[in-house]
Every structure is written in structure tokens, then in C-alpha cells.
């Protein structure tokens, strides 16, 4: 991609013309900032256990669901901030801004870029939630099966008002 040059930044500060740092025609951020780019960045950052799940379009959620582990809180925070920085660098003016959710948590941060959602967690948190299982097995997930289905009590009569407490 195009590198950020101090000369260009200074020119902008002086009010000198509409110089855009990003290269390419409008609407190209999504082709620049795509899944391969994100995975490359994560590998550069020494992210552990990168898991990319392709979400079928029927869910209308996003195209890709990425789950990544970090070594420590600081590592997770740094990765999230780095991704955000690269997105801000590459985005065009009409792309929506993206925020890091969970900035004040220690173990789970996520970022929702429209076509991709990325979750950065600690390995312990990953074990608790098992998001990969849910998003690959969907309705066959075992944690879902363990949820006891709600049943009415034996003495339930429809329409009868419950006693005032």
C-alpha cells in the first residue's frame, strides 16, 4: 500500500490542497483491507491460534468471523489498536468508523469491520466461550444442547393470574 509520508501530512496541516494519502479509486478500501490483509497483519503481530470462519450469507451477519488468541492483556490491546490504525490509514472518507469494543476488559476485545468481525481473546476466555464451536456447528453446538429447555410446572393453568407476592 501507500506509505504515510511526513511531507504529505505537513501539507495537509498547512491547508495545502486535497491530497489523499490512500491510493486507488473510492470504494477500494474493502478490497485493500480484506481478509488476507488482516490475517497477514495478525501473523506479523505473533497472534496465536488464528481461526477464520466463513459465515454463510443466510445469517446476514458478516462474511468472515475471526477468532484470535493473545499472550497477555497488553498483547491483545496492542493487536486491536494496530488493526484499528491500519484500517484508519486505509479507509476512504465514506467508510464508517470502527471502534474497539471491550477496551476496559482484560480478556476480550472485538472489532466489527462490516464484512469481518474479529474477536481477540486470552486463551482462558476462548476456552470458556468456545465461539468456534458455536459458529461452525451452529445449532448442533453442545453447549446449546446442554441448555435445559424451559418447561412449565405441573400445576400450571393457562390464564390464571399468579398470586401477588
Amino acid at each position: 500500500g501507500c506509505g504515510l509520508q511526513p511531507g504529505v501530512a505537513a501539507g495537509r496541516a498547512l491547508g495545502g490542497g486535497e491530497e489523499k494519502v490512500a491510493c486507488g479509486a473510492p470504494g477500494q478500501t474493502l478490497s485493500n483491507f480484506n481478509i488476507d490483509f488482516v490475517v497477514t497483519l495478525l501473523r506479523q503481530e505473533n497472534a496465536k491460534d488464528i481461526c477464520v470462519i466463513q459465515v454463510p450469507p443466510e445469517f446476514k451477519y458478516s462474511d468472515y468471523f475471526i477468532i484470535v488468541s493473545g499472550t497477555s492483556t497488553r498483547h491483545v490491546q496492542a493487536m486491536a489498536q494496530y488493526l484499528l490504525k491500519m484500517y484508519k490509514h486505509l479507509k476512504q472518507d465514506d467508510d464508517p468508523y470502527v471502534q474497539i469494543e471491550g477496551k476496559d476488559t482484560e480478556d476480550w476485545m472485538c472489532i466489527d469491520f462490516g464484512s469481518m468481525v474479529i474477536h481477540l481473546m486470552l486463551p482462558e476466555t476462548r476456552e470458556i466461550y468456545e465461539l468456534e464451536k458455536l459458529w461452525t456447528l451452529r445449532s448442533y453446538d453442545d453447549q446449546l444442547a446442554q441448555i435445559v429447555p424451559e418447561s412449565l410446572p405441573d400445576d400450571f393453568i393457562f390464564g390464571l393470574e399468579s398470586q401477588q407476592q
Binding site: K60, G102, I111, Q143
Partner: protein, 146 residues
Amino acid sequence: MALVNGRLGLFLTHFSRAVNQRHFSLTGACGAIQKLTRVRVVDNSALGNTPYHRPPKCIHVYNKTGVGKVGDTILLAIKGEKKKALIVGHKMPGPRMSPRFDSNNVVLIEDNGNPTGTRIKIPIPSTLRQQGGEYSKVLAIASNFV
């Protein structure tokens, strides 16, 4: 309230006697979820699913108005403890093409925003994603979207 009642009575005198005799009090329009609403916890957390002799009740809505809609955080009194929760559906009709639920559904979250439970079986409105706010975690553990 009495004024409306009187006016109603005057207006309907020549229609039906029965209506004059009915006395009902009119409150202002109530909102979806406010203080003292009983809610239904919809995730698989232990706190939300163990039976208790009192239903979980809202005790505060983190909002300028005291009325909570889908996507607002509230404080619940559950099993004698205070816990934050996120509203994911209410019985009050909202914008036209948005889902209306038969119960006031709520997902328990911690103070830092992490969900307490690990799965949500009940359908969650997909409009949560478009609303600004930190909902991606709740959407990630949901299995059903509406």
C-alpha cells in the same frame, strides 16, 4: 386524570350508561423497560437460570430517560444481587419493521461488558449490530437471529 374521566363521561352520556360507571385511572404512557419491571433472563448463565422466589427486576436504567429499549443497559436485582444486563427485546411495539417479543428479554453482562452466560438460545434482533454500542460480544454468543 379526573378531568379526562369527567370529560369522557360527559361525552358519552347519550351513548351508553355503562361507560359512565366505569372508573379507570389513566397513567402517562409507560415505556418498555423501566424501574421495577420484571424481566426474563435469556442466556444460559447460572445466575439467570437458578430458580428464586422472586423474579429478576430492573432497578435502574442507564439512560437519560428512565425507559429502556433494545440495546440499553439496565441494573437488575437478581437473587439478592445487583447485576448489569442488556435489553434484547421487549413487549412494547417499537419501530415498524423491528421484532416485538412476547416477553421482556435481557442478557446478563459483567461490569466490563463481557456476557455472563456463554450461549443464548432465544432469537436476538439483528438490528443490534447497526446500533452504535458494544453488542458484538452478545451477538457472538447468540445462536438465533431475528
